[in-house]
Assembly symmetry: C2
């Protein structure tokens, strides 16, 4: 398996935020060794304070406009969509991104049943589970979950030809306490808390979509970065609160096409603060309606064999969004265009390495 040189050289932590990052204190032992890219959401004239000792760069809307020029139109604000700007400007191999409401008032780091604090960052990449550094197994279900975890393996009847697996592109971690529910479920179950610590990591099988959550997410930026676009959502857009899910559906379809894997499960973070379900309902209602068309679109799409790179696939997907989902609402035409602009911005900021002639 691939070995890390030094994770510090290979990793950026991306945090979208609208508030002072005093809460980073809680994560200091885990995050301080690494570089932080902070993307300030909302009004750029506000000043965001970052505690001393964190190696970081901070971007606000003005910076985004300066860096991207006319292509800045693809970066939305006020729905944590702006975090994808951090993915764009990073030069590292791995990204770990976390929500700032995982730093709520009742702040704490999630704990294992043993009482030990969970270093989410390390578990995504280093640590015993090494989610991103061990292969994924999307072609066949393994009853003991991740066969590459300590103390586990492929069970009897798992074909030997599939045991090498495929490279892992994305690792989605989960959340204890406040579950990631939509507004209707929040309203119906206001007191429900996720208390179940499920000690497993698993590959999401090929051909199966999942609702990706950006709250606690790591990915191999060099492999899958161009799909991690959180869409034209939030401020001034009809679609909100589908930012990470949109990116997840695009990424899953492309990973399935290119033979890459997505894992979900450990590590957990502690999600402190539920967002307001009444506000969410207003933000979500078009998405709740449209997802009944968006999901069949992603379930049925077949990318042409000629699409060999993530960028090829993503442009093809953007075109299909305009063609197939566009008739639902003119918004999807704009979203498809923004997806193309995003890839142009990606290629501009991340030119392919020059080969010597």
């Amino acid at each position: 398996m691939e070995q890390l040189r030094d994770l510090k050289d290979d990793l950026d932590i991306v945090i979208p935020t609208i508030r002072n990052l005093d809460f980073l204190e809680m994560w200091r032992p885990f995050f301080q060794p690494y570089h932080l890219i902070i993307v300030q959401d909302g009004d750029p004239s506000n000043t965001i304070a970052v505690p001393d000792g964190f190696d970081h760069e901070l971007y606000n809307r003005n910076d985004v406009n300066k860096v991207l020029g006319p292509k800045a139109t693809c970066i939305s604000f006020k729905d944590s969509t702006c975090r994808c700007f951090g993915f764009l400007v990073s030069k590292k191999k791995y990204i770990f991104t976390i929500d700032d409401d995982c730093f709520g008032k009742k702040l704490k780091v999630a704990k294992k049943p043993s009482g030990k604090q969970i270093n989410a960052l390390a578990q995504h990449i280093k640590g015993w589970s090494k989610n991103l550094l061990t292969p994924s197994t999307p072609f066949f279900f393994n009853a003991l979950y991740d066969p590459f975890a300590n103390g586990a393996d492929f069970v009897h009847g798992y074909p030997f030809s599939l045991r090498e697996g495929v490279p892992t592109a994305i690792s989605q971690g989960l959340w204890l306490n406040i579950p990631d529910y939509d507004a209707p479920t929040q309203l119906v179950k206001p007191l429900e808390r996720n208390t179940r610590f499920v000690d497993a990591v698993m590959t999401i099988p090929k051909g199966t979509l999942f609702p990706m959550c950006g709250m606690n997410l790591a990915f191999n930026r060099k492999v899958i970065g161009p799909t991690m676009y959180f869409g034209l959502m939030g401020d001034g857009q009809p679609l909100c609160r589908y930012v990470d899910m949109w990116a997840g559906w695009c990424a899953k379809v492309i990973c399935d096409h290119l033979g890459l894997g997505i894992k979900t499960g450990l590590p957990y973070i502690w999600h402190s603060k539920a967002s307001n379900p009444f506000v969410n309902l207003k933000k979500e209602y078009k998405g709740i309606y449209w997802q009944e068309d968006m999901i069949p679109f992603f379930q049925q799409i077949v990318l042409p064999k000629g699409c060999k790179t993530v960028q090829d696939c993503y442009i093809e997907l953007a075109n299909k969004v305009k063609e197939k989902v566009g008739p639902l609402d003119p918004y999807f035409e704009k979203l498809g265009d923004a997806m193309v602009t995003w890839i142009e911005a990606w290629n501009e900021l991340n030119p392919p390495p020059q080969t010597a002639n």
Copy 2:
């Protein structure tokens, strides 16, 4: 949701065995209320002792021949394949089946991390998780696993139109201690034990195969019974140790076609005694070789829309086994024929209810 009348009237426990069932003592508090169907493997002249107080019927090879006549050829022995005879003669709605090596010398019932003994039978059907009584969700992955478990639900981004789910046909429970490894893995990792208690139940997504294990398995016999044929394997056959997996592949393809679900995960049993890896290697080597063809066969098969019943689907599958896998070895012709015989036996012993004219 469907309510149970009285589980006693609806459930049989099927146990294939070659030894005295003194070990049932361990399960007495959990199993005694129910009816046991014991299928004696191997030499019918041996006498199997069953502890007092267990309501049971016991069948040996002679009984199988008597009940099935010429169709008895489809029931193999000496590889726990004979357990499917118990499925055939049962008249109940639910079956729970368990291996007799889950009663090994170091006998114990698996425990939760809290120390409480796990009533595997109840968790498959009754209990908090109600695997068989709550729907499955094969069309979309839910990050919090079974949305019908206590304290869980569908996460944000799960389409509302898919939340009703589909009826659950099969519930596969897992095993602590000795993992269900093939002989090569047993040989390479002789000391590996499964100590990870994963507190989750999940639906295996549509289109994804899994290696079903008969060690701790429950199913709705009225819904999926005719697929639970453990094959022409064991005594005198070239294919051994693929009995439950064969049934699982057939069942999964048919469940996917008919819109039924299969769950895996909780409850755990304690698996005490590893089988001999050298003996297993001899038994398995053809299967290890053939599975590289059998699995693509099951992955690629498409059942015709006209197949509306489990029996229709199974006969179609039997014919396809002969046609597509037959060229691999004449054994698969015989296996396909045995699958047809099994359905004939099933229909004979389980005639459709007479409707009043």
